[in-house]
Amino acid sequence: MQLRKRKMGRVSRALGLVTANLFVATNGYAQAVPAPQPPATHLGNSSGSVTDDTQSDLGTITTDGSVLFYQEKGGRVKAVEPVARLKFTGENGDTFSLKATYDSLTGATPNGATPWKETQTFTTPTTPPGHEEAVTGASGNSTIVIVPGTGARVAQYQIAPHQLPLDAGFRDRRYALNLSYSHLFNPNTRITFGLNGSRERDYRSYSANTSLSQDFNDHNTTLTVGVNYEYDQSRPHFGTPTPLTEMNGLIKGPGENKHVFSVIAGVTQVMTRFWLLQLNYTIGWNNGYQNDPYKIISVVDPITGAPQQYLYENRPRSRTRQSVYLGNKIAIGPTVADLSFRYYHDSWKVDSITAEIAERVPISSWFYVEPDFRYYHQTAASFFNYYLLAGQPLPSYASADYRLGRFTAKTIGLKLGFKVSRDGEFYVLGEDYKQTGASTVPGAPGDLANENLFAGVHARSVMVGFSYTFR
């Protein structure tokens, strides 16, 4: 009886751990919150089984190191992102985790202008002589030009006829650190604190979050509420351009800031012996500078479609985002299906739906495969336009950033997992991500009707990692 009581107490504590962190633990990019805890039970599994992965994490240290290799087609963005994660789990269920990320980005990114049948020339600021360090923004294929009459030193790059205008000097490095501490007050209540910071050449981001989770119904139900505050500093290398003014080579204004306050509320429910469900609602208020300082929009002739001007984009300074997320884990024999859906809506009128499915299939006690598919569709922001027409009043807001346009994206991937020991796993995931959308705009003027205006991404990525738990 004593043994049974001890065991049940351990099971209860571990199940509390499992549910408490289930829904706040996934956006590892910005929010360092603890990963879900495995339960402390060996019930129902014999050694060597394809599902023999139920060891407790209490009193362990888990390490997880991985690298992402990401490449977009057409000579666009290329990224390499190593991540190292350490998690300490105490015998009392408390956890402390630390994650360090380094991100190296190079390549070209669309500058927002429309393609045209003739060569286009774009002018950007440049560094003073002797300071030619690599920066985010145009510099890669640019030539330095002295503007006649003014003597100003600017950079210019040209785009060939019918080609999507790309800013070829995109180059950046990012460092990020995430810390998280989670305390189990009692078997039913957990509180978590997180701190995050990241630094790029032209951007800083800091955030802090906390969440409280409460178990009910024999640990079958967990309710969680959390809040997050994020403070971002945008420091474009050549300054912040005045919105909707003409692109030029002059050094721009001072940096700008953004504040984000977010709330999350959710429930995690054990539905049956085979089915775990998670339902979240999130709302976030973004206030401050939200333009992309490197993006422009073409102003074209209303008859011929020829570009006449390039203006810096402008987005509203306020944006409220909301989403409802439904996640499911369903065991079907030795396999596990991961099914999730998300509906997203924001005050810029971007609506989106996302559906994901992955199926983990154990092949042997040490090897499994997991194919996955993701479907995503979004509507365009209310101020999104591929171009503006010359001679018409300027709108208050305008952006030609394809990420705010209407498109569909599909991801298809395959993960392989190798258990190299009871506590070590090597994993590799390959994925293909492709955005599709309308390439022409009804009523586009003149020869612009013949150009492919869609600037969506087609990328391939490989992620490899190794995790190990020290007991």
């Binding site: 289930l22 599902t51 139920t54 997880d64 992102e81 991540v83 990241s198 994020e230 999130t282």
Partner: protein, 74 residues
């Protein structure tokens, strides 16, 4: 009006919890739930990569957790 709304909210919340209480399993039936593969986030690093890619290439974010981005990529 405010009191009515609050009352409705409390009743709704109670109903939700009551509904949840008829679901679930007994502790001794948690063998499958106990598998690591049944966690909602089995590979946090991979999830982080996905969040990063989608945040920087799409107009939406959030859902699984807070909606912030933590980078200047969007």
């Amino acid at each position: 009006m405010k009191i009515t709304r609050s009352l409705l909210a409390v009743i709704g919340f109670s109903c939700l919890l009551s509904a949840c209480s008829v679901l679930g399993v007994k502790p001794w039936d948690r063998d499958i739930m106990a598998r690591k593969s049944m966690q909602l986030n089995t590979h946090p690093n991979l999830t982080a990569y996905h969040e990063h890619i989608y945040f920087s290439k799409e107009g939406s974010s959030g859902g699984r957790t807070f909606d912030g981005g933590g980078c200047g990529c969007n």
